[in-house]
């Protein structure tokens, strides 16, 4: 039987999916044990038990200076910046994407401009943002928004233009104005695409957030990672990375469920 036709059973699928995770965990445990056997003071690969102890400490022990649990403060601080940046980008991307996709005058005006703007490396603009907007939250939100908005605009305008011309013509024969076509024909069909393109841009959004926090901040997940790096606190860094990964994965999963729940027609069309 050809490999392309071999479907694993439900149990095998679960086992196969778990294998890479298990292998990485095993390799880490083995590497950590080997290094610690040679030097009990080794900090590069802390033992799994140390990681768990650190996790418990991070979650329960308040900071000696402020009396707050830093872990949650960092999470709230980072997520509020991330949501603000992604939200602004999604709103701008949606409005411009629809307008560029549907209205020839807007397309002629902005298509070339967006194509050029999207080539600016966002991190190269970070110093400009810090200088003009200060080193506070505004600059970080701006970096995330600037970083992913051009991508959102380009993708959403392309999807809007891919709407079958027949539908646009049909809407006109039913008496729809330009505005009615935008809000009642194009917008609902673009929304599932917006969700999926936001999912794709969450990776870059995290990147810009952590980069901005690493450069100038006083709280946040990225700030903490780069702060404790000075003390070689690999146990803290690993826990923070695992937490960021978990958060990112949950957002991705939640968005995909949201899309399926809100737009069931989009799933069956493909």
């Amino acid at each position: 039987m050809r490999w392309i036709n071999r479907e694993p059973s439900a149990v095998a699928r679960f086992a196969l999916a778990a294998t890479p995770f298990a292998l990485v965990a095993l390799a880490y445990a083995a590497g950590s044990a080997a290094r610690l056997a040679e030097n009990p003071q080794d900090r590069i690969l802390p033992a799994p038990s140390t990681l768990v102890e650190t996790a418990i400490r991070l979650l329960t022990e308040p900071d000696r200076r402020s009396g707050e649990i830093l872990f949650w403060g960092d999470t709230v601080s980072s997520l509020s910046l991330l949501f603000a940046g992604v939200g602004i980008a999604a709103l701008i991307g949606l409005c411009f994407g629809l307008a560029i996709g549907l209205i020839p005058v807007v397309r002629s005006t902005f298509k070339g401009f967006v194509a050029v703007i999207s080539m600016i490396p966002p991190l190269a603009v970070l110093p400009i943002l810090f200088i003009t907007l200060g080193v506070g939250d505004t600059a970080k939100v701006a970096l995330i928004a600037i970083g992913i908005t051009p991508f959102l605009i380009r993708d959403l305008s392309a999807r809007t233009m891919e709407l079958p011309q027949e539908q646009i013509v049909k809407a006109q024969t039913l008496g729809a104005s330009s505005f009615a076509i935008v809000v009642s024909v194009a917008l609902p069909q673009i929304m599932p695409r917006l969700i999926s393109v936001v999912r794709l841009s969450l990776g870059p959004a995290w990147l810009f957030l952590i980069a901005a926090e690493a450069v100038a901040s006083d709280s946040g997940l990225g700030y903490r990672i780069f702060l404790v790096r000075r003390f070689l606190a690999m146990d803290v860094i690993r826990n923070y990375v695992a937490w960021i990964t978990f958060l990112a994965f949950m957002f991705d999963w939640a968005l995909s469920r949201l899309s399926r729940w809100l737009y069931p027609w989009a799933e069956t069309r493909a």
Partner: protein, 263 residues
């Protein structure tokens, strides 16, 4: 003056002529079938009637007035595909025929309830009430086209344009769609233009069958000349008046079943 009059239309894309010297006049309530080889401008002609594009030369008048430059509610259209909105349920697709013409593109409150009730009546008539809450992707091709036609008719256009509406359907479904369309026509008495590749279908449904073809042909440059209307058959009563001259024994056959094959 006739209801629809097409006066000396020329249409070219990138200086490549598609249609040349097309003249046609149709009375209100007439069913005009349009046939011809692939790429001979049938669909272009339909788009011109729809006002989706403008002719290079010539003009089209409906009820004495020239077309305005964009599609509107007076002419409904059904395409072979993509005619219904995939993001609306079957019922809401019919409601959209009323809602889209409102400022926000939808209806609210009591107006909405009334529109939904009318949509349910329409779905009952076309036999789709059992799938009113489903999305079009769950429907078969024939059901989708029935929905598309009902949606176009819900806007009460004066002219219905059909671009190979049954081209993607199997023969059995196609027969049902013919009956469906003929019933609707008997009710509404609207003017219909239908592009089709199927000659028996053209003669069965149409009052007239017009044929698009190229009158000039350059073997070294097949795209050098455009097409025009080369035949205009009277297809009423299954095309019998035309048949008599060509084929005497046609009287022995079922008059409902056309056997003509022009061109």
């Amino acid at each position: 003056m006739s209801f629809v009059s097409v006066e000396n239309i020329f249409q070219s894309y990138d200086r490549r002529p598609i249609l040349e010297r097309v003249n046609l006049s149709a009375e209100e309530g007439e069913f005009v079938s349009i046939v011809g080889a692939s790429g001979c401008g049938k669909s272009t002609f339909l788009r011109l009637l729809l006002d989706q594009e403008r002719p290079t030369r010539g003009a089209i008048f409906v009820d004495g007035a020239p077309l305005k430059g964009e599609p509107d509610r007076s002419r409904g259209i059904v395409f072979q595909r993509y005619s219904v909105f995939p993001h609306l349920t079957v019922r809401d697709n019919i409601v959209a025929a009323e809602g889209l013409s409102k400022p926000l593109g939808r209806v609210f409150g009591a107006v909405k309830r009334a529109a939904r009730a009318r949509a349910d009546d329409a779905l009952e008539r076309i036999g789709l009430s059992h799938v009113a809450d489903q999305y079009p992707s769950a429907l078969s091709g024939g059901m989708q086209q029935r929905l598309a036609i009902a949606q176009a008719l819900a806007a009460r256009p004066r002219i219905l344009l059909l671009d190979e509406p049954f081209g993607a359907l199997d023969p059995g479904t196609r027969e049902q769609m013919h009956d469906f369309l003929q019933d609707l026509r008997a009710e509404t008495q609207m003017t219909v233009f239908m592009v089709t590749h199927d000659l028996p279908e053209a003669f069965k449904l149409g009052d007239r069958v017009i044929v698009f073809d190229k009158t000039r042909w350059d073997p070294h440059d097949p795209a050098a000349y455009g097409a025009t209307i080369t035949y205009d058959f009277d297809a009423q009563n299954g095309g019998i008046p035309y048949q008599l001259e060509e084929d005497e024994h046609v009287l022995d056959t079922d008059p409902e079943k056309p056997v003509a094959s022009p061109g």
